[in-house]
């Protein structure tokens, strides 16, 4: 999530209203106010609205929402006459380039900070950590057009930002903090992307670092924006968001010629939408006129075009408008969520529990009747608990997660019993007897199903108790079973039984082996059992 710092004075000047009005309403356009400080507020915006990642963007939206200035903001773009060449060798490395000239900026320390943080938020939300889009901002008066986006040998050197010594691009990837952070995006290519001016001065090594030469300072008046990446749409959205934010702050935007095309245009896209479709989706009565008005409040250009249609101009910075319904959400926001009539649907339906849960509930009821207390262990565990301590072989169908967070959570449970023994360890200091059960999901290969397990520990817990409890549970669930001597090493030889249904082992019961008790650090005997609930007659096929 992007948390944006909004300085009140600047925001009030841009929005043309007081801070209280802004703060009272900013959540209603889709945000969370994180902190309210004396001179600024920190507000979190959603990742689908990168156009709100700057005070300028927020002010533009709030002016519309508060009715101060509605409809489309238009941003005139003049050609700068500047050209940018693109090296065809970049086609397989980092093919897309966007650029613009931004004239007449007036920076102070705060506004430099603000544009830097917009740049970082865009890297995160649109750029996917710079791999898809990376943005560079340069003092244009330090370099000479035309500019060239080239694929360069990694041995080429320049002075990177925040350094005083010349470094090769290879060295930058190894030594510069930004180089180390983003090296993985380019390091496998034989040539690296580089932006130079006509005198071969380095502006930028995208997506890693700018050159020190073009550093933006409070004296900077004119900016060259470069945006490189792998996705045309994302690159153009980033350019549009930065250019329109700077234009809101008072700068003039000029286009650059790339491959014979003037970019950016900052022109809106057009969508024709149905009023009826919107009314039905939201559950409110709308006319073309009222819908258009609501859309203008959200800074779209919108005019009725017939009884059921509205012609919408989508501003170039609204990257999230992919589908008509994206506009309908804005209609709902402008209308106000709290004004929407909230009635449950009228269609008659009958509730139906899932048979897996019905059977689980029956098993719980029977366990409680036997005096067992329910516990709900985690489903992520490790091989040592499931197999090592239990003296069992690792199950074939056990799933190992590929990047576990810790050695405690490496596999998904295939049995419940080991987790119950772990519970007894956790509760060693608590009063005996302790009888615990759990009913829940286990996984074998990619199949999830439910098992039930119980443990009982006290001075006299033994085989007979395990057998009696298991038999009672199986009886309550109408499972027709036979018992055979078991060879499960988790139990004592001669004090263990396999539960057999239709010739297949579906469970086990007995007295836990003392070596297992030692492994779990338990001091009293444990009567235990576990079975597969799928043995219940009529159980659904999963």
């Amino acid at each position: 999530m992007a948390v944006i710092t909004l300085p009140y004075k600047y925001l009030e000047r841009l929005t043309r209203t007081d801070r209280k009005t802004i703060l009272d309403n900013v959540a209603l356009i889709g945000s969370d106010v994180e902190r309210i400080e004396e001179d600024h507020a920190d507000v979190e915006f959603f990742p689908d609205r990168p156009d709100l990642f700057s005070p300028e963007g927020v002010a533009r939206a709030m002016r519309g929402y508060l009715g101060i200035e509605t409809g489309l903001s238009s941003y005139p773009v003049k050609p700068s006459g500047i050209k940018f060449t693109v090296d065809p060798a970049l086609a397989t490395i980092r093919p897309v380039l966007g650029a613009a000239v931004i004239r007449g900026v007036s920076f102070d320390d705060e506004s430099i900070q603000s544009i830097m943080s917009l740049q970082e938020s865009l890297h995160w939300a649109v750029g996917r950590g710079r791999s898809k889009v990376a943005i560079g901002i340069h003092d244009m008066d330090t370099v000479r057009p035309p500019f060239h986006y080239i694929a360069s040998r990694p041995s080429r050197g320049f002075i990177p930002l925040d350094f005083t010594e010349k470094m090769t691009m290879t060295e930058i990837l190894e030594k510069h903090p930004k180089g180390r952070d983003y090296a993985k995006i380019v390091k496998d290519f034989p040539l690296y992307p580089l932006i130079v001016d006509d005198d071969d001065h380095v502006l930028s090594f995208p997506p890693i670092i700018n050159g020190e030469r073009t550093r933006v300072t409070i004296d900077t008046k004119n900016i060259l924006l470069d945006t490189t990446g792998t996705d045309k749409r994302a690159v153009s959205v980033a350019v549009n968001i930065i250019c329109t934010a700077m234009a809101e702050a008072g700068a003039k935007i000029e286009s650059v010629e790339i491959g014979g095309i003037q970019t950016p245009t900052l022109a809106p896209a057009e969508r024709i939408v149905s009023v009826q479709e919107c009314s039905r989706l939201l559950g409110i009565e709308l006319t073309a006129a009222s819908m258009a008005e609501l859309l203008r409040k959200m800074r779209f250009g919108a005019e009725p075009a017939g009884a059921d249609t509205v012609k919408v101009q989508v501003p170039c910075y609204r990257a999230d408008i992919m589908h008509d319904w994206d506009l309908f959400e804005d209609v709902a926001i402008a209308y106000g969520y709290d004004r929407l009539e909230s009635q449950p649907p009228k269609t008659f339906t009958v509730g139906k529990p899932h048979p897996v849960q019905v059977n689980a509930a029956l098993a719980r009821e029977a366990f409680c009747g036997l005096g067992y207390l329910e516990v709900m262990p985690f489903t992520l565990t490790n091989e040592d608990v499931l197999y090592g301590k239990m003296r069992r072989d690792e199950k074939k169908g056990v799933l190992h997660v590929m990047h576990p967070i810790s050695i405690e959570n490496t596999v998904v449970r295939t049995e419940l019993l080991p987790l119950l023994l772990e519970f007894l360890t956790l509760n060693r200091h608590r009063e005996l007897p302790q009888r615990l059960f759990t009913v829940g999901d286990v996984v074998d290969s990619c199949l999830t199903y439910q098992q039930a397990a119980g443990v009982s520990t006290h001075l006299d817990a033994d085989f007979s108790e395990a057998y009696a409890s298991a038999a009672a549970m199986l009886h309550e669930l109408s499972i027709d079973y036979t018992v055979e001597e078991s060879s499960d090493p988790a139990f004592i030889d001669g004090r263990r039984g396999d539960i057999i249904v239709d010739g297949k082992k579906i469970g086990v019961f007995g007295e836990i082996h003392p070596a297992v008790l030692n492994a779990f650090d338990l001091e009293h005997s444990v009567a235990a059992f576990e079975f597969d609930i799928r043995a219940v007659p009529g159980y659904p096929v999963l």
């Binding site: 959540a27 209603l28 356009i29 889709g30 689908d48 996705d231 749409r233 039905r280 989706l281 559950g283 409110i284 992919m322 589908h323 319904w325 709902a332 969520y337 929407l340 009539e341 909230s342 009635q343 449950p344 649907p345 269609t347 339906t349 509730g351 139906k352 529990p353 899932h354 849960q357 509930a361 005096g371 067992y372 207390l373 329910e374 516990v375 709900m376 262990p377 985690f378 992520l380 799933l399 190992h400 997660v401 590929m402 990047h403 576990p404 967070i405 810790s406 959570n409 998904v412 519970f423 509760n427 608590r430 009063e431 059960f437 999901d441 996984v443 290969s445 990619c446 199949l447 999830t448």
Partner: protein, 480 residues
């Protein structure tokens, strides 16, 4: 007034006749020990029915030595009787009482020794000493002397004098049930009818019993159960599905772009397993790449089959609902699912890598975003949260989207869950043409508030004492 025990009643009955008596005497009459009688008297005394008077008496008792002297006379008396006119000192020395008695005779000046002869002083007698021995008295200095000589001992005896109070007397006059008491009611007594004459022992209800711990459902499971009940009452069908899901159903079918950060290894648990893509996956591919046949632009780029085949631990139960919709495309559909979901988060007091999610969907011909708000309001109201409000939000697979907040006294507005209408990019590829309202909430958040837990892990690594002490019925107020 507390019930009288059988023994108190027997005591009072005796006291009615005796009026005032010593404990040993009463003990004899009641066939009990004095100590027991005193204890009963104290119990009756607490009820104002009897009075116990503690009388301390001083007594002189003989030591073992003294006992012999009381029978045979003091050693000096014995020697005095032995001395005859011819008696020599040597004769006297043979007498067993000589060692003690001779000194006393000399000290008291009762004999005269001349050479080897011993003679009585005329008129000498030990009668007064003997009298002091037989009848010791505080006033007699000779008694003190005998104590000093270790012949007598002073001892204090405590005696309890018990009498009945007027209230006790009145009670006895009313009549007391003096039948014997029984502890256990036996089978024989029940079937023979003997029970009719039994006086069953009464127990003191002010004493706490020994703790008994019933087997019971986990308090968290109870909260899940309550939510299930509400949804079943609201006409929803329950779903169940696997915790291992293909990325296809967990992400792609929900229009989550393949380069979305949530799909990265650091946020999702991937498994070294793949499953073949279902029939019709090409529609999902087309939707991602260019928006299929809808008004959508799609995400652009190339959608890769192998990314979709990869299995993950489901990050939401929406992966289950979307498959249900794909298999049941005809309206109306109202379904919900509660189940464990997984996020690759570092575990701490408020974050778990696995937690329960509850999710519901409604698909019908004319359902609207407003209906979704209505369902949520109804659900949260039934959970006990009276004030519910909605605000805009963002979820990759819903549009419009919202967050629901409920008001909790003493805490304020709390975010409870997200909701929205499935994007057409989600519904179109699986052949759904009507709006699908979807909403989800974190069950553990409500559990944490209700159970007053500071650490979410305690839901899954519970202290047995906490489970035993948490009552099955918890009175909730305002949802908490």
């Amino acid at each position: 007034m507390a019930e009288l025990t059988q023994n108190e009643k027997r005591l009072l009955a005796i006291l009615e006749k005796e009026n005032k008596a010593d404990a040993p005497h009463l003990a004899g009459l009641l066939d009990a020990t004095s100590e027991a009688v005193v204890q009963w008297a104290h119990l009756a005394g607490d009820k104002g029915l009897a009075m116990v008077e503690r009388v301390v008496a001083k007594e002189f008792v003989y030591t073992d030595e003294g006992k012999a002297y009381a029978q045979n006379g003091l050693p000096e008396t014995q020697l005095l009787r032995f001395i005859l006119p011819e008696t020599t000192l040597a004769d006297l020395q043979k007498h067993e009482a000589f060692r003690i008695g001779f000194g006393q005779l000399r000290k008291k000046g009762l004999v005269k020794v001349e050479g080897t002869s011993v003679t009585k002083i005329p008129g000498s007698t030990t009668d007064a000493d003997e009298a002091a021995l037989k009848k010791p008295s505080d006033a007699d200095p000779r008694t003190k002397d005998l104590i000093k000589r270790g012949i007598l001992q002073e001892s204090e005896t405590v005696r309890y004098a018990i009498n009945i109070t007027p209230a006790g007397l009145a009670l006895v006059k009313q009549g007391l049930d003096l039948r014997g008491e029984s502890g256990t009611l036996t089978r024989d007594q029940i079937i023979s009818g003997e029970w009719k004459d039994l006086n069953l022992r009464k127990y003191d209800v002010s004493k706490l019993p020994k703790k008994a711990y019933p087997g019971k459902i986990h308090p968290y499971q109870r909260i899940i159960g309550e939510m299930r009940e509400i949804l079943l009452e609201m006409g929803f069908t329950e779903l169940y599905g696997g915790i291992v899901q293909q990325s296809y159903w967990n992400f792609d079918a929900l229009f989550q772009p393949q380069d979305h950060p949530a799909r990265e290894m650091q946020d999702t648990f991937y498994l070294n397993e793949t499953l073949p893509l279902p029939k019709g996956y090409e529609k999902v591919k087309a939707m991602h790449e260019c928006g299929g046949e809808t008004s959508s632009t799609g995400w652009g780029g190339v959608w890769k089959e192998e990314k979709a085949e990869q299995c993950v631990l489901r990050t939401h139960t929406t992966s289950v609902s979307i498959q249900y919709l794909a298999n049941n495309p005809n309206p109306p559909i109202k379904a919900f699912c509660v189940g464990r979901v997984y996020r690759r988060e570092t575990i701490d007091t408020t974050h778990l890598a696995e937690f329960e999610q509850l999710e519901g969907i409604v698909m019908d011909e004319n359902v609207s975003f407003g209906n979704l708000l209505g369902i949520l309001r109804e659900f949260y109201n039934r959970m006990g949260f009276e004030s519910v409000r909605f605000k805009p939000s963002f979820y990759p697979y819903t549009e419009p989207s919202l967050d629901a907040e409920v008001y909790v006294d003493g805490i304020g507005w709390i975010e409870m869950g997200g909701a929205g209408v499935f994007r057409e990019e989600v519904t179109a590829p699986i052949g759904i043409t009507y709006p699908v309202l979807a909403w989800g909430l974190g069950v553990s958040r409500i559990a944490m508030l209700r159970l007053g837990l500071k650490d979410l892990r305690l839901l899954h690594k519970s202290d047995v004492a906490f489970l035993r002490e948490t009552p099955s019925l918890r009175h909730t107020k305002g949802g908490i």
